[in-house]
Amino acid sequence: MSLLDPAEHDNRAVNGLAVLVLAGLVVLLVGLWWIQVASRHTYQGQLEIQAVRTVRVPAARGRILDRTGVVLADTQPSFNLGLYLEELSREFRQEYGRIRPVEVVHRASLWTFGRGSAQVVTQAVRLSRSQLEELQWTARLRVVSNAVRQLSEVLGNPIAFDAERFRRHYLSQLALPYPVLVNLKVEQAARVAEAPALPQGADIDVLPLRVYPFQATAGHLLGYLIRDDRSAEGEEADYSYRLPDYRGVVGIEAAYDSFLRGRAGVKSVWVNHLGYKQAEQIWSPAEPGLDVVLTLDWRIQLAAEQALLRVGANVRGAVVALDVNTGDVLALVSVPGLNPNHFVTGFPAGEYDRLRDPLLRAQVNRATQEQYVPGSILKPLVALAALDRGLNPSAPYMVQSDPARPDRGCIYVGRRKIRDTAPPGEYNLRRALLRSSNSYFVHHGLQPGVVERLAELGVRLGLGQKIGLPTRQEAAGVFPSPAQVRSASWRDGDTANLCMGQGPVAVTPLQMALVYAALANGGRLLQPRLVDRLEAPFPRTSSSVQQFPAGLVRRTVALPMNHLRILHEAMLADTEDPEGTGREAALPGFRVCGKTGTAQVMDAQGRLRGYTTWFVGFAPYESPSFVVAVMVEDGGSGGATCAPVAREVFRALQEYGQRNATGWAKRG
């Protein structure tokens, strides 16, 4: 042993080394402990974050039904043909390998050197990073466009492939399938399902799609949607991807959007480091939205629409039909219509231009959103005001003849001559109303206190005020206030104009329908009711979720019954008397009380531009149930243009009443 003593030094070094080795191992151990034990939650969190993409899955939108259960807006599965890119990643690589340029080189390795032969091999050409990237894109585009072409063959018609759209999808939504063709027709979906061989990664997936089965019918009331994938209020907002979702912009779709929309679900997609999907898990399923049941009656709506469309080409007008007692809106028509389907699936050629046409203004809901000069349909209010101020309805008033046109009457207000369409002669209230005599109403309107009472009545009956519709399609209209008519700037000429429904006054068809409903029901100004109830989507499990009360009265206007009776009688005569302007509205077996209107529309320079024609009435005379307001822009006259439309609507209402009566009888 002593022989080896010089190695004593060596052993010291070895011992030192052992200390170093131990120290090193301890350092590693502490490091590992720190990462794997002390901060494991941090890293586990990072693991989750980097591998999981949350996807917002929109709920199926609730349906919109009419009062009889006809579906006006439906949510149907739409079949989309998509390419799952994660399944294509291998083909991307293969294609990339194919198009990667190579060069032939002679290589002598030790293995072959010994045998005296050089190996001829190919070797990838050295390329810059951007060139490689370009090559990868080329490979992907080739693979995908090939797949799209194959799919075109399967479908039997060409599918456009937009390389830029694909590039955007690839960069931003890699974990979602690339939509090749959305909203397949049933036949196309069947072709895909039965195709013997689909390209790799192609499959059909199903997304909810809004469908309006009756196209433009009631389109304004239903409203339309726009694409909006944002999170609703109170919903989680941190999504990596969002599947297409929609939000109502106007109409019922907008008003009840929060109910219709339901609650979006969340699913997680596990992705790999390249962003391709590996697996998915649904955290919370989407809860479908509630169904909205309208007060609208499908048949009345359709009858009104068709009657209005029969007026002529490019007719612009509106129809409102209400239940006089409940305020239920039974029909709300505006033409030209708009087709809400187009807002979801895209506009056909020319359709978008038509929507933006400045004259047709198809986007506007003329029944509630646009205000018009009422003309003679305001005369029943003038009559009521005059009666309140002591007018004797049977007292005769002599209308003088117009010197310029001896067969027509006229009246002078100061030095201004107001022409009349009615002939000269003797008028009482009944005849004045049914012939729509301007002179009679101007004369009585100028009596003391009448115009103040008229202003008061108009305001009490809601003219010049918004109703508070939830549809975001409302105009307030214009009506002079009592203070205004009492002011010094108010002249007799203004009173004369107001009594003819001209001058500083504008109304919406819905407002007029509500005014006439108040005249029919004894002075109750109703809150129009558009929605009857909200329903759970599966009626078997639960029925009505929320019922909206019928017959809400905004305010009651004191209208003496005897005055109303006089007025009803005169308005009935308007449709039944051979002289009446509204004869065309008469309907056998369903006595209609109404009033026509033909209002002059002036342009900015005070020139006559055309006429807004009206018919507003209620029926039946014996116990008024329904009110109908018809308005046509640039019509001929209220009697000729609007009264026939009103008749058709009343006919539908009559049938509706009979249906209900038998229904009640059956149920009773």
Partner: protein, 420 residues
């Protein structure tokens, strides 16, 4: 113990040994070396399989071409080589060490010649032998240890001469430069601590060693400072990827200080990409937690966050750490620790300085590799292509590691008191 007598006495010993090698292997098998080696090899097989399973299943790689099968074959081959190494006395091997050393240097030189050396991952480190490719630098490490041990096991007086000291450094420098040239900075750097430890053990005066250590430390600090703070024109020319790895390690921006916003954005993207491996390895290790996710359950692998080309290779440890957790990591460290400490014990008991020096060289090599590789997985060290001995996939590394184990066994067999 002069060198002359040592060489003379050998042939007789050799004859005697070859007759009794069977029984001796049985009696003198060092279980403290071979049990951990066997355990690490088994772990290596299991986790190479785990980390390549998904990809190879997907690509329908035939059974005999699977990574873990190939790895198994390398273990077998390495085991054979280890037995071969055991059957020849290490002093005979040391006598041949100049031949081995210069032969290896020659091969290292050949690697650099295009057409002979094969390029993979941007480095020319391999020699293509048809079905297999070998990485000579793995064997160069052993050759250097053997050569240095042979060179330094001379009388202590001679070691005091500067000539000897510089010659020893020269022996290091030749393979060092060649390996650096490939480029393979990691392997090249591994040679330094081994050389240093051997010089120290051999008894080279401390003055030299101190100068060497201080010199290289100052050089290293200067290099890093130059990299981090010098304007581009004054920087030491490094390979771009090496520069980036170091920048990632020191958490520095790639962009030059006066760069335009676009350049900065590009640099940041590049930085993201470059620090990607490190970050993913760290997430893999950290998310393993205490108990791990279970064999084959590592999501970092399954989802491909750990690069598939590196997972079973340089980053095998992060796979083990993810799937077996802290417990697995400690187990791996313990196995290496047992080999290392047992190796030092063998060094202490070695019959002569030659054996002691070889042992010290081997232990330091092994330790450096373990430390650098695991350190890189937990961001203690910058990323370098240093495989984890016995665990990482790769034939040359496995065979070289097993040969090293064989050498340890060889020295153990001939230790003091072990001679029959």
């Amino acid at each position: 113990m002069g060198s002359g007598t040592r060489l003379d006495g050998l042939s007789a010993v050799e004859v005697m040994m070859s007759a009794t090698v069977e029984t001796r292997l049985h009696q003198r098998l060092d279980w403290l070396i071979w049990v951990p080696v066997l355990a690490l090899s088994t772990l290596g097989l299991a986790f190479v399989a785990s980390s390549t399973l998904a990809t190879e299943e997907l690509n329908r790689v035939p059974f005999w071409d699977r990574s873990w099968v190939r790895q198994g074959l390398w273990y077998f081959l390495g085991g054979m080589m280890a037995i071969g190494v055991c059957s020849v006395d290490y002093r005979v091997l040391a006598r041949w060490s100049p031949v081995i050393y210069w032969g290896t240097v020659l091969v290292l030189g050949l690697v650099l010649i295009p057409g002979i050396g094969a390029v993979r991952f941007g480095a020319r480190r391999w020699i293509d032998l048809g079905p297999v490719q070998i990485q000579p630098s793995e064997f160069a490490k052993l050759a250097l240890v053997l050569m240095l041990a042979h060179f330094l096991s001379r009388p202590r007086e001679e070691l005091r001469q500067p000539r000897i000291f510089w010659s020893a450094l020269g022996l290091l420098a030749v393979p060092w430069v060649l390996i650096l040239k490939e480029p393979d900075l990691g392997t090249a750097l591994l040679l330094c601590p081994a050389t240093l430890a051997m010089l120290w053990t051999a008894g080279v005066p401390h003055v030299y060693l101190r100068r060497l250590v201080v010199g290289s430390l100052v050089g290293g600090v200067l290099l890093v400072a130059n990299l981090l703070y010098a304007p581009p024109r004054w920087q030491v020319p490094l390979e771009e990827y090496q520069r980036q790895r170091l920048l990632v390690y020191f958490g520095r921006d790639f962009a030059a200080p006066g760069a335009s916003p676009e350049e900065k954005a590009r640099a940041r993207a590049l930085q993201e990409a470059r620090s990607y491996q490190v970050r993913q390895a760290l997430i893999a290790v950290g998310s393993g937690g205490v108990w791990g996710k279970g064999w084959g359950q590592g999501t970092q692998i399954a989802l491909g966050f750990l690069p598939r080309a590196a997972a079973h290779n340089d980053f095998i440890f992060s796979v083990i750490a993810e799937e077996k957790g802290f417990v697995g990591s400690v187990m791996v460290l313990t196995l290496y620790g047992v080999i290392l400490l047992r190796g030092l014990q063998i060094a202490r008991q070695a019959r002569d300085r030659l054996g002691r020096l070889i042992m010290v060289g081997l232990v330091t090599l092994l330790f450096s590799q373990v430390f650098i590789n695991i350190g890189m997985n937990i961001r203690l060290m910058p990323v370098t292509g240093v495989p984890l001995p016995l665990l990482s996939y790769g034939g040359s590394s496995v065979v070289a590691s097993l040969i090293a184990a064989g050498l340890m066994q060889n020295i153990h067999m001939h230790a003091r008191g072990n001679r029959p």
